[in-house]
């Protein structure tokens, strides 16, 4: 049987940078094929080549045995290859239907065939389980529904090869389950699916075959049944990963660092009701919950309670000692992407690097270099614009900035979102080190793995309330997942 997709010696250079070199692997028709690798391993580049967004410098791609040369995504779509991008290509003020119709060809002044197409797209949606209200505006739909629109865009073009770039990064555990079962339906109908991810459990759960990328090269391509999470992780990073710690409790109960009592707050759509939470020294408390269940309100209350209306806030927050935070959305709240790395390192610790009115630039740069070395932030160039660093390196700097100030309380919101495995491990270890040095950590995350790896205790937020609390010996994915969905 000819493969649906075959990469034959594909190489791609961006100037001096070799993004893909000599990539060869094939994807069986009617299979789900996972592409894994750390950030910057070249997996997205390879998929963008397949989708016609980049042209390879050498090598060729075969689709159903035919050699193709896509000049643009239009060519790829004509060859029935579709891609769901990590950042959705949807205009928020318009309806799901209009966003799908935009893809279809037709003469410029022809009326949009809204009625007939709505019927047709609804049929497709029902068939594969991607139901979405076509007349709803995108801005009123959840991320999961928006993703369905993107998939419907591809299906409505009758594509039979689907590329999904990190489709689960933005979904809740329940939505991930739905997506996977729908993808299996697509597979049963004979569609071929390529899925980029760095969550290895998902690879094991979903895929038939897996190809591993590391620093621009294809290092392994085999059947999923012939491999394991440990095996894949080792292939991805090129070395063995450490086993999660079996920690003996060393929590210092006598020392409460953060004490939240009867906290209620109202931020319009999101609310918090009657939150009681204590964090002790040498303790990590995880806050689990589907996004939008009050996490953002909690963060606001801790960092910026003055900006909340007096009437909407009640209860008390006592923080004994200094507090440092890794903001959830670092690019919006934590850094200045267009400014050099060392200026970003300065933010929030200006007092340490000033003398009178002036900045001690030399000292600041020396310290930044030191930190970049210690945290292995690459490239080692403190004058580079912060935004040019990869996601993992950006987050490492944000973490370094907070932790080198030796805070007593650490608020870590989604500390490893969009960060590759190597950096995740590093950041987790840094958080553990700070904890061992006596800090208390409040960890807000939507990644169950992360919560379970770090937390001594996990509380679950649901509709603004703490609905469940688990100690380390009690929590597991099932119990947490249930509580996150509102059931106990």
């Amino acid at each position: 049987m000819t493969a649906a997709v075959q990469f034959k010696g594909i190489s791609k250079y961006f100037g001096e940078v070799r993004a893909n070199s000599d990539i060869s692997f094939s994807v069986a028709k009617g299979s789900i094929h996972a592409i894994v690798g750390e950030n910057g391993a070249g997996k997205s580049t390879a998929m963008k080549i397949l989708f016609g967004m980049y042209r390879p410098n050498s090598g060729e791609i075969l689709i159903h045995g035919q050699s193709v040369d896509f000049a643009s995504p239009i060519d790829a779509m004509a060859a029935k290859v579709g891609m769901v991008h990590q950042h959705f290509m949807l205009a928020e003020p318009y309806t799901a239907l209009d966003n799908i119709l935009l893809q279809q060809k037709g003469s410029a002044f022809a009326l949009l065939p809204r009625k007939e197409q709505a019927q047709r797209i609804n049929d497709i949606a029902t068939r594969y389980g991607f139901h979405v209200d076509l007349n709803a505006k995108v801005e009123n739909l959840s991320v999961g529904e928006q993703q369905r629109i993107e998939i419907l865009k591809i299906l409505s073009q009758d594509s039979d090869i689907l590329i999904l770039d990190e489709p689960t990064a933005v979904l809740t555990p329940q939505e991930v389950q739905d997506l996977f079962s729908n993808l299996r339906k697509l597979k049963a109908e004979g569609k071929t699916i390529l899925i980029i991810t760095h969550k290895l459990k998902e690879v094991m759960a979903l895929s038939d075959a897996v190809t591993v990328f590391r620093s621009g090269r294809m290092v392994e391509s085999k059947k999923t049944t012939d491999t394991s999470v440990e095996d894949l992780a080792a292939l991805m990073v090129g070395r063995g990963l450490q086993i999660p710690e079996e920690r003996l409790s060393s929590i210092d109960i006598s020392k409460t660092l953060l004490n939240i009592e009867n906290l209620s707050a109202d931020l319009g759509t999101h609310k918090l009701r009657n939150i009681n939470l204590k964090i002790h020294a040498r303790e990590v408390v995880g806050v689990a919950g589907v996004e939008g269940n009050g996490q953002d309100v909690l963060i606001r209350c801790l960092l910026d309670s003055k900006s909340l209306n007096k009437g909407s806030l009640s209860g008390s927050i006592q923080c004994h000692g200094s507090l440092q935070a890794f903001p959830e959305d670092r690019l919006r709240f934590g850094v200045l992407p267009s400014r050099p790395v060392y200026e970003n390192f300065l933010l929030g610790q200006e007092h340490r690097f000033t003398k009178g009115l002036f900045l001690k630039t030399r000292e600041l740069i020396a310290r930044t270099q030191e930190i970049m070395k210690a945290y292995d932030i690459r490239p080692h160039n403190e004058r580079m614009a912060f935004g040019k660093l990869s996601g993992g390196n950006q987050q490492k700097l944000v973490v370094a900035r907070a932790l080198t100030q030796k805070p007593d309380v650490i608020l870590a919101a989604q500390p490893t979102r969009g960060v590759d495995i190597g950096a995740i491990e590093f950041i987790h270890n840094e958080i553990r080190k700070s904890r061992d040095d006596g800090a208390g950590v409040l960890l807000i995350s939507s990644e169950l793995d992360e919560l379970m790896a770090l937390s001594d205790r996990i509380v679950v937020l649901y509709k603004g309330q703490i609905v469940a609390e688990f100690t380390r010996s009690e929590f597991n994915e099932t119990s947490l997942g249930k509580a996150m969905g509102g059931g106990h």
Binding site: S72, M89, A91, Q103, A110, L112
Partner: protein
């Protein structure tokens, strides 16, 4: 009876005065909806007013002038498109530069044509428009709302301004869509200018737009970048203008209000509308991005 006549006269004056604003704000709306900021409406209008007056006078025909205004508007719109789309010049600065360019260019041409740096010769009263531009303006609003929300190319314009990457991913060139939108914007704004020189008046006089390009811009923002609400905003501003004209020379308690105070009325209404009642106005997301 007298009140009724007065109201009727005021209504008619409002509609006449709204005509240039409607054309210009529809022009601005198409440009901005496609993602290109357009503060050059004032200059586009002046260009249309001037081209319309010159050609209208030469051929003793308002329609000839109307056609000339369209061509001049397309030309200057395309030039603006070249600067902001191809050369990626800053849209606000380029827009203001275009306004200044036109203000300087017109006296230069009048000097060559008529040896004066001021007005153009006037059309005969029977040659100028009596009502036609007003009807065209209203028809234009209906046509744009239909086209923009119901046709494929309308959707392209909306997406060019809201999510250009999505448009590109669908195989439509954002660049071409914006070129078309900005060029069309020039033509429509020029119609607005020509309705000043061929409909409200019968010749071009220096700076005859008097800030109406900016008022049209204000109207389209006040109208949340939507055709029918923008039309309503134009009518509101025109009403203020009509009232202003009526109030000139009116005496309050035996004292005549200085005419300058009366004349600022439409501008004050514009400021209040934009500052006070704009509510949640949401600009196209990619507006002004390059």
């Amino acid at each position: 009876m007298e009140t009724l006549t007065w109201i009727l006269a005021l209504t008619l004056a409002t509609l006449r005065l709204a005509t240039p604003l409607i054309f210009a704000s529809m022009g601005g709306l198409i440009s901005e909806r496609s993602g290109i900021v357009n503060v050059a409406l004032e200059g586009f209008m002046l260009m249309g007013a001037f081209a319309g007056a010159v050609v209208g006078y030469s051929f003793a025909s308002a329609w000839a002038g109307w056609g000339a205004a369209l061509i001049a508007g397309f030309a200057i719109g395309a030039l603006y498109a070249f600067f902001v789309i191809e050369l990626k010049a800053d849209q606000i600065i380029t827009g203001m530069a275009f306004n200044l360019l036109v203000m300087g260019l017109i006296p230069f041409i009048t000097k060559i044509l008529y040896s004066s740096t001021g007005s153009t010769p006037a059309l005969l009263v029977e040659d100028r428009f009596t009502f036609e531009p007003l009807l065209l303006a209203v028809a234009l609003v209906a046509a744009i709302s239909f086209w923009m929300y119901r046709t494929r190319s309308g959707l392209w314009v909306l997406f060019a301004g809201e999510h250009p990457e999505a448009l590109t991913a669908s195989g439509v060139s954002v660049r071409k869509v914006r070129w078309a939108a900005v060029t069309l914007s020039g033509g429509l704004a020029a119609f607005g200018g020509a309705s000043l020189s061929l409909f409200l008046a019968s010749s071009y006089s220096p700076m005859m737009t008097g800030g109406r390009g900016f008022m049209a811009l204000a109207a389209l923002i006040f109208g949340k970048w939507k055709p029918v609400p923008a039309l309503a905003a134009c009518i509101l501003f025109a009403f203020a203008d009509a009232v202003q004209i009526r109030l000139q020379g009116v005496q309050v308690g035996g004292i005549e209000i200085p005419v300058q105070f009366v004349q600022i009325l439409p501008y004050i209404v514009t400021i209040i509308a934009l500052a006070g009642f704009i509510g949640k106005s949401r600009a196209p997301k990619a507006l002004g991005h390059q």
